[in-house]
Amino acid sequence: MRTVTLGAGMAFWGDSVQPAIDMVERADIDYLCCDHLAELTMSILQKQKDRNPDHGYTRDILDLIRGVLPQARAKGIRIVSNAGGANPEACGRRVAELCREMGYPETRVAVVTGDDIADRIDDLLADGIDFRNIDTGAPVQDVRDRLTHAAVYTGSEGIIEAIGAGADIVICGRVTDIALYLGPLIHEFGWRMDDWDTLGMATVVAHAIECGGQATGGLYDGDWAGMPSLETMGYPIAEVAEDGTAVLTKTPGTGGRVDIGTVSEQLVYEILDPTTYLTADVTADFSQVTLEEVGPDRVRIFGATGRARPDTLKATMGYRAGWIGEAQFTYTWPHACEKARRGIEFLRRRLDRADFQAQDTIVEYLGWNSSWGALQVPPPHSEDVLEVVVRFAARCADAEDARKVFTQSVPLYNNGPAGVSGIGTRPPIKELYGLWPALVPREVITQRVSFVNAPEGEAAGREIS
């Protein structure tokens, strides 16, 4: 039976490019699919684009292209990526330029847009789309003047179109992670766009591998100590059959492992109701997914199904939501925990006198209760504690207040309890972005495909819906 082989090249912005390089060199894949975007990423990228109109995409795509292009061109491996972020056009131009610089000017670079609705919000509101927050029910007017970006999780249509038109590299904005994988498969197999069971099955395959090393032994909670060579981790590969089922494996000669344990853990990562995994292309049902080990580092995945895609698409919008200021210091034996608590009391009293305004604050003792601090895990017996690191953080509406957390902690250096270190390095205050999830009708979103280096006489762009 014919298979199409997809490799997961990158799993997040800033991920190592070495697994992708290893994969194109050693494995036999048809497509390298790369996810660079997390929920927060779009707000950060929009800020970069506001400062420089040539920025606003994840620049790690350039390191990836530098590393994989010669092998990808030699083997005919196509690359599908959402590195375009808030500025897919600029990303596509730079990628095409880089291909020329590297001696591959014939590389056809397509750009998929249409997800960015920031400039359309007022028109869409006027059309009656209310952008009500789907988690809280709050009206978008609460944050309208603080919105920093608005993008719609779009599906695979643009990618299918781009590959069909001969793209070697497809650069997208905020398409779903799943679409990066479904697009090539729908193009190759010619699946109908309402073949829900097949699309649902392929969605589960994509979910299993789209976080890269998390499917091949990274973050594995099973026998983590027995996982071979984590530092040369191979990224996952799916050999997908025409019915959407697949054999999952990884780059030969690399670290990590693909077995029922590693794949199972990733299947339950970041899902809600497994019978109803909503994407722009299909509603996938994970609940009956089944795994079978069919060889060393080879796991067959089958049993998932699908139902009709939702009528709405999910928009994710970012809004400016204040600042975090923080301070952190270390206290030592004797009485490390008591001294740390006294140091925090010192800081709180000084902040009160400085007219400090905060929406919320937190105190964490690193190495003791920082992961589950709200549960008030009791301290170990104080006599046994050689040192404790205490962290104070505050969420403030105003940047000036966030800065006070550091400035008011500085006197702890010589006026507070003894046995303290780590004061005096100014941690940066961090601007916060809230996320505003909302739904938009599918009909108002139109993806557009264009080629950066379109040959003479060919249409530069095409709209699809």
Binding site: I271, S287, L432
Partner: protein, 123 residues
């Protein structure tokens, strides 16, 4: 839970992973074998998980099953201090939430063999 009888932890019978979606955290548990999965199904209820997380989770807890891979998925709402982009916590993405669930204590009715061995890393 009283320790006058035999007990074990979730960590003895399952491995786990957690992650974020906005202010919601999900914790997936994968049982080491069929007997372990049965213990999980019977004892790790949504109600007990909600109680186990206490003040760390402000919303409700829902449990789902993926029986063919012997997995339970717990969806914890209001679990991440406003969500990954807003949280003051060091673990703002909930990556360690699964480990707290691994600590939950279970009755040992003798039906399972503890499957997690203490890891030895001989670096």
């Amino acid at each position: 839970m009283s320790h006058s009888h035999s007990w074990l932890r979730v960590a003895d019978v399952a491995h786990g992973r957690s992650g974020d979606k906005g202010d919601t955290c999900n914790v997936g548990l994968v049982a080491f074998d069929d007997a372990c999965f049965e213990v999980l199904r019977l004892q790790v209820t949504a109600e007990r998980v909600k109680e186990h997380f206490g003040d760390l989770v402000t919303g409700d807890v829902t449990r789902y099953e993926l029986p063919n891979i012997r997995a339970l998925n717990f969806v914890l709402r209001g679990a991440l201090d406003g969500g990954g982009t807003m949280s003051l916590r060091s673990d703002h993405l909930g990556k360690t939430m699964y480990a707290w669930l691994l600590r939950m204590e279970l009755d040992d009715d003798g039906s399972v063999t503890r499957r997690r061995s203490t890891p030895v890393w001989e670096g």
